[in-house]
Amino acid sequence: MRKSDQISSIVLIIVAIVVCFASIRIGLGTFNTPDLGFVPFFAGVFLGLTSLPTLIKATLGKKSEIAAPQEHVNLRKVIKAYIGLILYVAFLPLLGYPIGTFLLMLFFFKGVETMKWRWAVLTGTLIVLGSYLIFYVWLQCMLPVGLVDIRWLTRWII
């Protein structure tokens, strides 16, 4: 945990410094007339000060003698899934909920997991149709439409 604690606390300290400078820029005010940046400044100071002990402990503390057993971590799966999510968010305005989500499901089933094509397509279709009917039709939640409006298809199915 030493290295990860060092990295995480340094990141938090940098965030704290940036917040403090940004707060000063927008104005701290005085104690009797606190301005916009007053509380964020002290929140930044608090963040920095509370991150320091972790950094100090990780840097000056003793190394643990027995290394913790490493569990098998499938990081590739995590990265793939996260990239899929980023692409989904990026293309959602263009593709809309039904098409975008169907493609995401396909990616999860084929790219992240190893499902057979026909099962991937079938499960993906069922998830998209089911969620669309529950949330859009039944619960009347709004969902991203995209450039290709296929809401007529839902009306036609119903």
């Binding site: 606390s9 499938n74 999510l85 968010v89």
Partner: protein
């Protein structure tokens, strides 16, 4: 008499057919999300929040509350049958519940978990009814200094009761406060830290934030490893515990009710820590502590009772003071505000139907849960069998819909995905999410009351020390922060107990 009238009014509100239907939907969905590992009450509430916009606030809040306490019932089923806790609050139930199932006693384990939950939940509701009302009346006298100090106390207790490093938890409080300052300033109405993004003018919404931190990050964590589910192929029989089972577990249930309720009231308490502490207490008081972990019924009865009592107790600071004590009640706070209600003491004044209707609905909800859970256990077992490779895309879909439909904004979906990786990193680096979310939700309240106090006192911080309640709250904060040398306040003790149980 006034009090009795209010209780009767609560019954009148919640016995309306529409409210009963929403209560039933809430507890049913709650049990379902409790059964499914990966989708907790937080995600389910956030997901269903937009669907409550079209119904009355009372029905909406009754349903949302039902999801919360219903999830505690469902969590035990997976703990006992699969050794995978559906809910964090049911982690400790795995220890003896799963062993009981292995010995062919899954039925009594599930039965005592359901009855214990019912007793704990009902005890919690009685406590809530007795405490929330006078607390709300008392809180009407609070001014900005009292509220500021109480928020500070709430945040410090959250970090104190946390399971990881206290300095890390405090850093998360700092980060939460920083995040809460994004958007419109509560006093001047000017924008800050929005980076020109119009959607950020109202700040980062709590729903995408929590869904990312807890929902998406949980999916990413689970993808790292392989989730093995071994369900016993035995018939689940004898759901009703025997007289011996009752004799063995009745004191555990009663102790669990008290422990759960009082810990639930504390910020950071809720169902999780209540169940852990209840298990530790039962083991300590038992005549045969060495048998714990091998399938003793007290190890199931105590924690399962405590987590339900804890959940109900968590409503006290929310309804009485408008201060959430954990991330789920933080979402509930947001739900109340979205419905145009003012959480805290004013809720009792302005919307007594919501205040009393929701409290009384918990009685009925607990009864529904017992009736629902015992015969439906077979159905829940089938749901548990859904493989994770199908479950995780479903959870992602639910999170996306929940995040988008709050404001119909794609920026919220992007925020959720961003906080998904932040939450994942936090888990990897052992930072807790609860202090961040609580600080985020309480940040605006803290800022408003701090600035108002300073304006009232003409810039003097003595205002926080000259008012008894405020001074007492700040004194407790100092003791918890720096009192590690006093044996009674030694935080390590609690942490050690929890770590031992975890091991």
């Amino acid at each position: 008499m006034d009090y009795l009238n209010s209780v009767l009014f609560g019954f009148q509100v919640c016995l309306q057919p529409i409210n009963l239907v929403y209560c039933f939907i809430g507890v049913l969905l709650g049990t379902l999300v409790g059964v499914l590992p990966g989708l907790g009450p937080l995600g389910a509430i956030a997901l269903l929040l937009p669907s409550t916009f079209t119904i009355s606030p009372v029905s909406g809040i009754i349903m949302i509350s039902g999801i919360y306490y219903g999830a505690m019932y469902g969590g035990s089923t997976t703990s006992i049958l699969v050794n995978i806790p559906g809910e964090t609050a049911s982690v400790v139930t795995c220890l003896d519940g799963y062993q009981m199932a292995r010995k062919g006693r899954a039925g009594p384990a599930l039965g005592i978990a359901a009855f214990g939950s019912f007793i704990g939940g009902t005890f919690g509701v009685v406590g809530l009814m007795l405490v929330a009302y006078p607390l709300a009346q008392f809180a009407l006298k609070f001014g900005p200094p009292e509220y500021f100090s109480l928020v500070c106390l709430g945040l410090i207790i959250t970090t104190y009761l946390g399971r990881g490093s206290m300095s890390k938890a405090l850093a998360m409080v700092g980060l939460g406060l920083v995040l809460s300052s994004v958007g419109m300033d509560v006093i001047s109405g000017q924008s800050r830290f929005t980076f020109g993004i119009i959607e950020l003018r109202d700040g980062v919404d709590v729903v995408p934030l929590t869904m990312g931190l807890f929902g998406i990050s949980e999916v990413l964590m689970n993808l790292e490893g392989t989730m093995k589910k071994e369900i016993f192929q035995t018939k689940i029989k004898n759901l009703l515990p025997t007289l011996k089972d009752w004799a063995d577990s009745i004191w555990s249930i009663l102790r669990g009710s008290v422990i759960g309720f009082f810990l639930g009231v504390l910020p950071g308490g809720g169902g999780v820590i209540s169940s852990f502490l209840s298990y530790a207490v039962e083991k300590k008081l038992s005549k045969h502590p060495e048998k714990f972990g091998t399938g003793v019924i007290e190890g199931v009865a105590g924690p399962e009772t405590a987590n339900n009592a804890g959940v109900t107790g968590a409503f006290i600071p929310l309804f009485g003071l408008g201060i959430p004590s954990n991330p789920v009640t933080a979402i509930l706070l947001a739900a109340l505000m979205i419905h145009g209600l003012q959480p805290g003491p004013m809720l009792l004044q302005q919307s007594p139907d919501v205040f009393w209707g929701v409290i009384i609905s918990m009685y009925l909800g607990n009864i529904m849960l017992v009736i629902l859970n015992l015969p439906l256990i077979g159905v829940w077992v089938q749901i548990v069998k859904i493989p994770y490779r199908i479950l995780f895309p479903l959870i992602v879909v639910f999170c996306v819909v929940g995040a988008y439909s709050i404001n119909n904004s794609l920026v919220d979906v992007a925020i959720m995905v961003f906080f998904g990786i932040v939450g994942y990193m936090m888990r990897k680096f052992r930072y807790e999410g609860a202090p961040l979310v609580l600080a985020y939700v309480l940040g605006p309240m803290m800022e408003k009351n701090l600035r108002q106090s300073l304006i009232i006192s003409d810039g003097s911080f003595l205002i926080f020390l000259t008012r008894p309640l405020s001074a007492s709250a700040l004194l407790i904060c100092l003791v918890l922060l720096f009192g590690s040398h006093i044996p009674f306040f030694r935080r390590r003790k609690i942490a050690e107990v929890l770590e031992k149980i975890n091991d």
